[in-house]
């Protein structure tokens, strides 16, 4: 039920006292007046509170339970981050620079810390989220080649295990996308790469560790090959949580490094943000960064718009500032050792869970269940489907019935019945074991009574949704009957 459907004529959440001053005619011009009634919902305050509390109770979030959504880094976000962010809530983006020195200082110091973590020489904090950062990064790469008058660089190489946003961002920036087939180990195949690399290659986009949860151990060689061919190397930051504080993309040879502050650096996220997708670059690319860039001159902080070769503005104002405050708080409260420990624990948790699951669920690109993964891994439901007719989708729905958020399903595309699991560092051993037990129970149920899993979920506010109709004929707006 929507709040509009709770409406009863004449009800009010708050009533103003009767006028004790004469009414003034403001003389608002006719064309600025609305011609139809706004028809806002008419409800008591208690209706509003109950309505939204009820919606919240129906929702599932990381504050409610385990959320092992692969490649999304659904870690628990300390509430302190929220408190710090709220301190800045009265700032206005049009305030003069001298009145927002504290906010600019925070942005400057955050930038410096993120450059240290990623091994880059400069950075923009402006992009609003992951894919926006990707597009910004690809536009910088484009500007770099064009500035060198190297007009042949028209293609971007993307592995077949990449996030779908990679080819999309490259195409949006005007590049032709070439898909790189992974090796039988699920890594970049150097021979295939060599075949594709030539004088028309603008960049290679890589995620490291990749979406299968494996570290691209040939990364130094890949960087060398890319640079020899005159191409740049782009880092998709989706999986930085696996190496944060331990290894730096800049040191691996990446020229453009993308981050998802809302994932790795702790902001509640998912399905709409707000997010933040900073882009760090090496020295030779800094002049192409979008404006404004936060800089420091003596004790004064300022927004630098004077970058003649900049790709321009990529959004209004200065980025999603609230997320920047949360990331800043997170980094300072964790400290250098804390960040290292977070990535260590993320990897340890993933390997522990993978070990538990490998007893009864095959792991992709890991025949004997002994290959070490990074912060996530992909379980493969192909065998289960063949033996029982139960699809990965059914398994995911059955997990909802057992109180867990489902992992990412059917991604990466190179694993047919993929169940992609990222536990993150903030989960206890008991939670991981409870999840493994739930999954084991589902596999056993699949063998005994597959039909019951086809009917899952049974305990959720809505049962199985008709995704096909929702995609074919989406209803995106509520309308009054």
């Amino acid at each position: 039920m929507t709040i509009f459907e709770r409406s009863k004529k004449g009800r009010r959440a708050y009533s103003f006292p009767e006028y004790d001053v004469p009414e003034v005619d403001l003389k608002i011009p006719e064309h600025l007046m609305r011609s139809e009634k706004a028809e806002l919902p008419e409800v008591y305050e208690v209706d509003v509170v109950r309505h939204y509390t009820e919606l919240e109770a129906k929702n599932y979030s990381v504050d409610r339970g385990f959320y092992p959504l692969g490649s999304c880094t659904m870690k628990y976000n300390p509430k302190l981050n929220e408190d710090m962010s709220a301190l800045f809530r009265w700032l206005h983006p049009y305030q003069p620079e001298e009145t927002i020195q504290g906010a600019l200082k925070l942005m400057y110091e955050l930038k410096e810390m993120l450059m240290e973590i990623t091994g880059t020489d400069d950075m923009t904090l402006v992009p609003s989220a992951g894919a926006h950062g990707e597009l910004t990064g690809m536009l910088i790469i484009r500007a770099y080649h064009l500035d060198r008058k190297d007009y042949k660089r028209s293609k971007v190489i993307v592995p077949d295990s990449a996030h779908g946003t990679n080819p999309a961002s490259a195409a949006m920036a005007g590049f032709k996308v070439v898909e790189l087939k992974s090796s039988d180990e699920g890594l970049v195949d150097l021979k295939e790469l060599e075949k594709e690399l030539d004088e028309t290659t603008a960049a290679i986009m890589l995620t490291n560790p990749n979406t299968l949860g494996y570290f691209e151990r040939d990364i130094l060689k890949i960087a060398e090959m890319a640079h020899e061919a005159g191409a740049l190397l782009y880092y998709d930051g989706a999986n930085l949580n696996a190496i944060m504080g331990r290894a730096r993309p800049g040191d691996m040879g990446f020229d453009v490094v993308h981050l998802n502050l809302h994932k790795t650096f702790s902001t509640p996220h998912g399905m709409g943000g707000p997010g933040s997708g900073p882009i760090g670059v090496k020295e030779e690319l800094r002049e192409f960064l979008p404006v404004p860039v936060v800089r420091k001159d003596g004790d004064r902080y300022y927004l630098d718009y004077d970058l003649p070769k900049s790709i321009g503005m990529v959004r209004s104002f200065y980025g999603n500032f609230g997320v920047l405050v949360k990331a800043y708080t997170y980094i300072l409260t964790m400290g250098r050792d804390g960040l290292k420990m977070a990535s260590d624990m993320a990897v340890l948790n993933a390997n522990y869970l993978k070990k538990l699951l490998s007893e009864f669920y095959p792991i992709a690109y890991d025949k004997d269940g002994k290959r070490a993964c990074m912060h996530e891994f992909v379980a493969d439901g192909t065998k289960l489907l063949k033996e029982t007719g139960v699809k990965t989708l059914d398994v995911a729905k059955a997990l909802l019935d057992r109180g867990f958020h489902a992992p990412t399903v059917y991604f990466p595309l190179i694993v047919h019945e993929a169940l992609m699991i990222e536990p993150t560092e903030t989960e206890s051993k008991e939670t991981l074991e409870a999840f493994a037990n739930a999954l084991k129970e589902i596999v056993e149920e699949a063998k005994k009574n597959p039909q019951s899993l086809k009917e899952a979920p049974k305990n959720t506010p809505v049962r199985r949704l008709d995704e096909a109709t929702a995609s074919r004929k989406p209803i995106v707006k509520w309308s009054r009957k």
Partner: protein
């Protein structure tokens, strides 16, 4: 008689050099519920192996490749509003385009139904 590609398209000669093209029943089953298919423009030309168009299901978006070289002479307009026809009848009413082949000998490289079925068995291992 239909011929199949390793990338799961089928092609069937209607008459002369005219063929119908679609995706195999196996392909639609793997994709799951299809929600969108981009129809190639009539008159556009493709070489064998070029990306003919893309198809989206609730699970993923995939390329469909031209099984033979030639020019598109018709597209199955009904699929725009009802992509689910491919799920219901991939190798019949779910045809995607008609093409005029430029090199009919390319058909010889494709698999017969029996060969394709054997290929699927091997692929699934």
């Amino acid at each position: 008689m239909k011929k199949y590609t390793k990338t799961h398209e089928w092609v069937e000669v209607i008459e002369g050099n005219k063929v119908k093209v679609g995706i195999s029943d196996h392909a639609q089953d793997q994709l799951g519920d299809i929600v969108y298919i981009e129809l190639p423009e009539v008159g556009s030309e493709f070489k064998k192996g070029d990306t003919l168009t893309t198809i989206e299901s609730v699970k993923s978006a995939e390329d469909i490749y031209a099984p033979v070289s030639g020019k598109v002479t018709a597209a199955n307009e009904e699929l725009s509003d009802h992509p689910e026809i491919i799920n219901e009848d991939a190798e019949g009413k779910g045809w995607i385009v008609e093409m005029e082949m430029s090199d009919p000998s390319e058909l010889n490289d494709l698999m017969t139904k029996e060969e394709y079925e054997k290929f699927l068995e091997e692929e699934e291992g």
